[in-house]
Amino acid sequence: MNPSTRPNSASDTLENNDIVIRTENVSIFYGAFQAVRNVFLDVPKNNVVALIGPSGCGKSTLLRCYNRLNDLIPGARVEGKIAYQGVDLYDPKIDPVEVRRRIGMVFQKANPFPKSIYENVAFGARINGFKGNMDELVERSLRGSALWDEVKDKLKESGLSLSGGQQQRLCIARTIAIEPEVILMDEPCSALDPISTLRVEDLMHELKKQFTIIIVTHNMQQASRVADMTAFFNAEATEGGSRFGYLVEYDKTYNIFNAPKQQATQDYVSGRFG
């Protein structure tokens, strides 16, 4: 939690680590509209990578590409290459369902299933063909998302009966239960109070021992607290008047916040942004 130790730990984990996701020259379109242009971004294993930038610059769009959730949006199209452990995610032979089981998503708005707390967590494991001890997995996942102590006596109650912060941690538990390798989080704390936010942030430090995390956030302090690497995106208008997003700078979080190479990054992280 101490920010001054962060740059060291980031560089420690970074150098000798392999890349889990490679983003090579990726452009994303909605129909004819180009939302994201020419992104190169490598995600190291067991790191937390934060995507920051102004609204509409395509952070969510890019994040959704990592588990092929954009497939659900009619007209969405990806150019370039996204490789997960060397495998092209958009190869026609790849099953998107399988991708999503390895790369799970936690959404901005907590969206538990209208089932019991237990079933919410067990669902992911079941669809994944989990054969082991379900009670144990549910407990492990709920402990993993720092929710166990609050819900252990009411596992049969509906997931919707929890508070917003608890619901979000339930959604994280549900994602952990599919035992993915990467967890994508799209502004997971934007609807949470500061205390729940801190709990989720603490959680991320725990989770990255086991998973690789890509998180979209508007909260600069959050990025500096949780992320090892930070990518700053910006949006620019074309001659036609439409805006496309692009990656401005990607570096260790410490560098992005303290020694950015680009003026735009400097302006954004210091809050002087037009």
Binding site: F107, P112, P114, K115, F123, R174, I178
Partner: protein, 293 residues
């Protein structure tokens, strides 16, 4: 205007309703209440009539005996009760899977596309089809093809009437589920099949159950489509491929018969149909109260 006058006039005078306006309000309230009373008259008088005329004849024999021959005293209509239950059951067995799966397609997969718009259009038309046409349809495809009136033909005729109700309420149920819930399931690797069977259907279940009970309530009282599909049977039907007695057709037959005993039994049967519909409607209310969203 307010400033100068508010200083001179006391506040409550300012806000007091003028007597003309008050009177208008009272008249309108009275009007609305009398309209409600008038609207309730048919329902109340039907219930009153069915109960007063039917309750006296409601004996255990009604449930255990067969319909009496003309001029014979006593008797019951156990065959018509089981017949109604069986034809409704057949109707439900056909319409529920087709109706729910249709709604799954129109809402979950084809939302807004040409085919689902066309299906919705057809559902609208189907719900306006007179029940006798549904009977004619079943007569054409089942009775003529099998060469016999039967519970199956009756059930198929009823299923045509039940189908649009079930499609509608299931669609409502699926629409009530937030998009986020579907995304959540897909986002952690559920297949379409898994998210429909394990998330969407359970969450929409109260709606579907309401639709099924409403459809059953409608089917239980239908007569016209059964007249020339299930027809009637003085005795217990030995199979679902035989002419089958139903409560509604029994009422039709006995109510216009010249024999007092049969007329009395028609009232008892009417009472039982009304009770059946009442029970089913109450069930529908109970299940729909357990809404998830």
């Amino acid at each position: 205007m307010a400033h100068s006058s508010s200083q001179s006039a006391p506040l409550d005078n300012q806000f007091a309703v003028s007597s003309g306006r008050k009177m208008f309000g009272n008249i309108m309230t009275a009007l609305v209440f009398s309209c409600v009373a008038i609207a309730a008259i048919p329902l109340v008088s039907i219930l009153f009539m069915v109960i007063t005329k039917g309750l006296g004849g409601l004996t255990p024999a009604v449930f255990t005996d067969l319909p009496p021959a003309a001029g014979v005293a006593g008797g019951g209509f156990r065959n018509a009760i089981t017949g109604t239950l069986i034809t409704c059951l057949i109707g439900a067995l056909i319409s529920v899977p087709f109706g729910v799966l249709t709604a799954v397609y129109t809402i979950e997969f084809g939302r807004g596309n040409k085919l689902s718009q066309f299906v919705s259009f057809c559902t609208n038309i189907l719900s306006g089809v007179p029940s006798i046409i549904a009977g004619l349809f079943a007569y054409g495809i089942v009775v003529l093809a099998t060469g016999t009136f039967s519970a199956v033909a009756g059930g198929i005729a009823l299923s045509v009437l039940m189908l649009p109700i079930i499609i509608r309420t299931s669609e409502e149920g699926f629409k009530s589920i937030p998009r986020d819930t579907r995304l959540a399931a897909t986002g952690i690797g559920a297949t379409n099949f898994q998210s429909v069977t394990q998330i969407i259907l359970p969450a929409a279940m109260p709606f579907i159950a309401t639709g099924v009970t409403l459809a059953l309530a409608r089917a239980a009282g239908e007569t016209a489509p059964l007249l020339f599909t299930a027809l009637f049977n003085q005795y217990d039907a030995k199979s679902i491929w035989e002419p089958t007695a139903t409560l509604s057709v029994l009422i039709y037959n006995f109510a216009i018969s010249p024999y007092k005993n049969q007329q009395a039994l028609a009232w008892v049967a009417a009472l039982i149909v009304v009770l059946l519909i009442l029970v089913v409607s109450i069930l529908a209310r109970i299940v729909s109260r357990r809404k998830v969203y």
